[in-house]
């Protein structure tokens, strides 16, 4: 209840009330005291308040704000009909039960009078709400101000009806009424929401307007001319009766205007319908542009919408790829027929000359007519991407109406939109592919980082330094050390062919294989042989792995070293630099005894200050701007020059030298460098 009263006593309504009160008080003071006047005024004010109450409650109950005007009017007509049926059966019914309301005597008759008055107030309120909602359908400048002024004059005119008994004051009511009616006419003109209705809706609206005008006229007639009814109302409250009369007049004015406006809009309704479909299709399409990745889906939607926009019976798309013409998304046509019509069109106008939309009739050519069943005309719009024609949109009609200028424009516009969406979908899928690859590479790099050892072995007998510079694409380099016992250390350097995640997987596998094999086998050759077999399952036929595997034994200062296709190792011994290249085929190239027989295991005796350098081909194949390779000789030179330095320093020098050489060129492959320097070895066992 409190909620309701909040709604009722809103600011504007109080203002109206106060204005009305002040106006009537002014009249009252000016024209002297009449003993009947004051109680009558009180009654009228009370009735006006009741009207407010009813309007506020009805607005809430009906909740019609969100309804479309057409359904609003529809409901209006139905309720009006019910109301009129009730009003016109009332008199005969009352006579039947012998009740005379003009001279009420019993309490029953009084209650009937009050009930009638109450529901006639409701009906006025209802009509008022409907009209208010219709008024606010189309947004217009200062609409609210005009409407408030209208309501003000409406109420003033209604209240002024209590002055009816003073003949010389009738002009007051007349002035207010005239103002109210002027505003009614103003607010009925320019009914903009009609424009957005379809033709069928407009026809419907015509019928509804006629019905409303007839019903309201009947209602108004009842108010004005039915003695019985009018008298009852007037006796009860002259202002509510006058309010009802005015609001009915407003309804008649409004709906007359509506009728006329609708009549004028009817001839253009079809054109507007088409434009509306076109615009909404294009809107839908532009949303689609940013969503669809699947070309078939996009083509399907394109031809579906093309049918609507061009008012055609069939549509299909041809995309040109090289010499081939591919058909997509035929609507209401078989591929054979689409093919025939397309061939016919291209025969009279070669595809490369269709730079703009092209229209042609099919009916003239007799042999084509048979093939194309009953298609009469066809329109072909090219899809132009960067001045290149990538395809065509075909729409065909089987009715007599040929394509006109307007069709031409809308089909052309539509095909331009479609082209944009095709291009977007292409760009989007390319972008997604690139992002997918980048994510994959990020995963591969992460794997690589985890696979490589994070700690190098430490021992009094040697110093070791490792450098690993990954290539952007992840090259598949791998190195590791395994401490077999206090005095035995295994080392491995490997390079898996391939890039990215597949190379990273092979690296992970290599690590597992070596880790387990070193626990069971003593000989490097044996370990490489087993590794080759184990890799057979996971390597693709065109992939392989090159590796150098060795075991250092500090008990007798020897190194056993084997090579499987890997680039040669370097050894500095007695101030001389040697290439170490024991025989051996790359892992995964052959799985027969040919591989096993090829692996040569060599045994080296290590002396103090001997340096063993292991690397991958990323080092020697580092390229400069003119595609020259860094090469083995440059590497040998830099190592030799720095042979007396610490291992880390040697590595640093090598890296500097490589990056100086390839400074203007990007790195294509992983670079891995292992430098091992032997210490405190006396050369004597």
């Amino acid at each position: 209840m409190f909620e309701l009263s909040n709604d009722i006593i809103n600011r504007i309504r109080i203002q109206f009330l106060v204005l009305g009160l002040v106006g009537i008080l002014f009249l009252f003071l000016t024209f002297g005291f009449d003993p009947d006047f004051f109680p009558k005024l009180l009654i009228e004010l009370f009735v006006t308040l009741t009207l407010f109450f009813i309007i506020a409650n009805l607005s809430i109950i009906l909740d019609i704000k969100k309804k479309a005007p057409l359904s609003l009017i529809n409901n209006f007509v139905i309720l009006l009909g019910i109301w009129l049926a009730f009003a016109f059966t009332l008199n005969p019914m009352l006579e039947l039960v012998n009740v005379n309301l003009s001279k009420p005597e019993s309490w029953i008759e009084y209650s009937i009078i009050y009930f009638l008055n109450f529901i006639s107030l409701i009906s006025s309120a209802y009509i008022f709400i409907i009209l208010k909602n219709l008024f606010f359908q189309g947004k217009r400048k200062n609409g609210k101000k005009y409407f408030n002024a209208f309501v003000l004059f409406l109420l003033l005119a209604a209240l002024a009806s209590i002055l009816d008994q003073y003949e010389n004051l009738s002009f007051v009511k007349m002035v207010f009424t005239a103002n109210a009616i002027l505003l009614m006419i103003y607010s009925s003109a320019n009914i903009s929401w009609i424009a957005f209705l379809t033709k069928a809706q407009k026809k419907n609206l015509l019928l509804l307007s006629v019905a409303v005008i007839v019903f309201i006229s009947l209602n108004l007639g009842a108010f004005l001319y039915s003695d019985n009814y009018s008298e009852i109302l007037n006796n009860f409250s002259s202002s509510s009766q006058y309010f009802a009369i005015l609001i009915n007049i407003y309804a008649i004015i409004y709906f007359t205007f509506l009728l006329v406006t609708t009549l004028f809009h009817l001839p253009t309704a079809e054109a507007i319908d088409r434009k509306t479909i076109e615009i909404s299709s294009l809107q839908y399409f532009s949303k689609l542009i940013n969503q669809v990745l699947n070309f078939n889906e996009l083509a399907e939607t394109t031809t579906e919408l093309a049918l609507k926009i061009s008012n055609s019976n069939s549509a299909w798309i041809i995309m040109i790829e090289g010499d081939k013409k591919n058909f997509f998304a035929p609507q209401n046509i078989t591929l054979t027929n689409a093919n025939k019509i397309s061939d016919f069109v291209f025969s009279i106008k070669p595809e490369e000359t269709i730079k703009e939309i092209f229209l042609t009739e099919l009916s003239n050519s007799t042999n084509q007519k048979q093939a194309t069943e009953n298609f009469q005309s066809v329109a072909v719009a090219p899809f132009k991407m960067h001045n290149k024609i990538v395809g065509f949109l075909f729409v065909a009609r089987n009715h007599d109406l040929p394509f006109d200028e307007e069709d031409k424009n809308s089909i052309q516009t539509f095909s331009d939109y479609a082209t944009i969406s095709f291009e977007n979908s292409k760009l989007l899928s390319e972008k997604i592919e690139i992002e997918r690859l980048e994510r994959e590479l990020a995963v591969a790099r992460e794997m690589q980082k985890k696979i490589l050892p994070n700690k190098l072995p430490q021992n009094n007998n040697f110093e070791v330094s490792a450098v690993f510079i990954p290539a952007y694409e992840v090259g598949g380099d791998y190195y590791d050390f395994f401490e077999l016992s206090k005095n035995r250390l295994a080392f491995v350097i490997a390079d898996a062919s391939g890039k990215g995640i597949s190379a990273a997987f092979i690296m992970a596998e290599l690590r597992g294989i070596f880790q387990s094999l070193v626990a069971y086998f003593e000989s490097p050759k044996e370990i490489l042989m087993k590794t080759n077999l184990l890799l057979q399952r996971s390597l693709e036929r065109k992939n392989f792995v090159t590796a150098i595997f060795g075991i250092i034994d500090f008990n007798n200062n020897t190194v056993l070293i084997t090579r499987a296709g890997h680039t040669q190792a370097l050894l500095i011994n007695n101030d001389e630099i040697h290439e170490l290249k024991p025989k051996g085929i790359g892992l995964g190239l052959n799985f027969t005894s040919l591989f096993d027989d090829s692996i040569e295991e060599i045994k080296l005796k290590m002396n103090d200050e001997n340096i063993l350098v292991l690397f991958t081909d990323g080092v020697t194949e580092a390229k400069n701007k003119v595609n020259e390779e860094y090469g083995i000789e440059s590497l040998k030179k830099i190592i030799y020059e720095n042979r007396n330095e610490e291992v880390d320093f040697i590595n640093q020098k090598i890296v500097e030298s490589i990056s100086e050489f390839s400074k203007d060129s990007c790195q294509h492959d992983d670079i891995t460098l292992l430098v091992i320097k032997f210490k405190k070895i006396n050369g004597v066992n």
Partner: protein, 118 residues
């Protein structure tokens, strides 16, 4: 960016593929399709001429591995000829001389196909 071509021609029922330019991960698919076409038309006697090849990467090497099994199963072979020293060095490091017949002259390889017993 990298320029590469692989042109096949027939000489005495032996297919000779002439390689030209840079054979790496980007151009390897071209050579793959050349091999696929030859195998598709049941031509298994293949000589690959490296005379004009400037560079080969590990992905390029992989192409030969991908087809050799099928070719040998069909009593054919891939023979490699006229490699420059830098290219031969790469094949040599990998152990290819144990897996493939490598000749200095193209005619030697073709003769070998003609007279397998010699």
């Amino acid at each position: 960016m990298s320029e590469f071509s692989a042109n096949a021609s027939e000489r005495l029922d032996v297919q000779v593929i002439n390689l030209n330019g840079y054979l790496d991960a980007h151009t390897a698919p071209q050579l793959e399709s050349t091999f696929s076409e030859l195998i598709g038309s049941n031509k298994y006697k293949i000589v690959v001429n490296f005379q004009e090849l400037k560079y080969i990467s590990s992905a390029g090497l992989g192409v030969f591995m991908a087809f050799i099994e099928k070719i040998r199963d069909n009593k054919g072979d891939i023979k490699l000829v006229e490699m420059k020293p830098n290219v031969f060095n790469i094949f040599d490091l990998l152990g290819f001389p144990l897996l493939y017949e490598i000749y200095e002259k193209e005619s030697d390889a073709i003769n070998r196909f003609q007279n397998p017993k010699e």
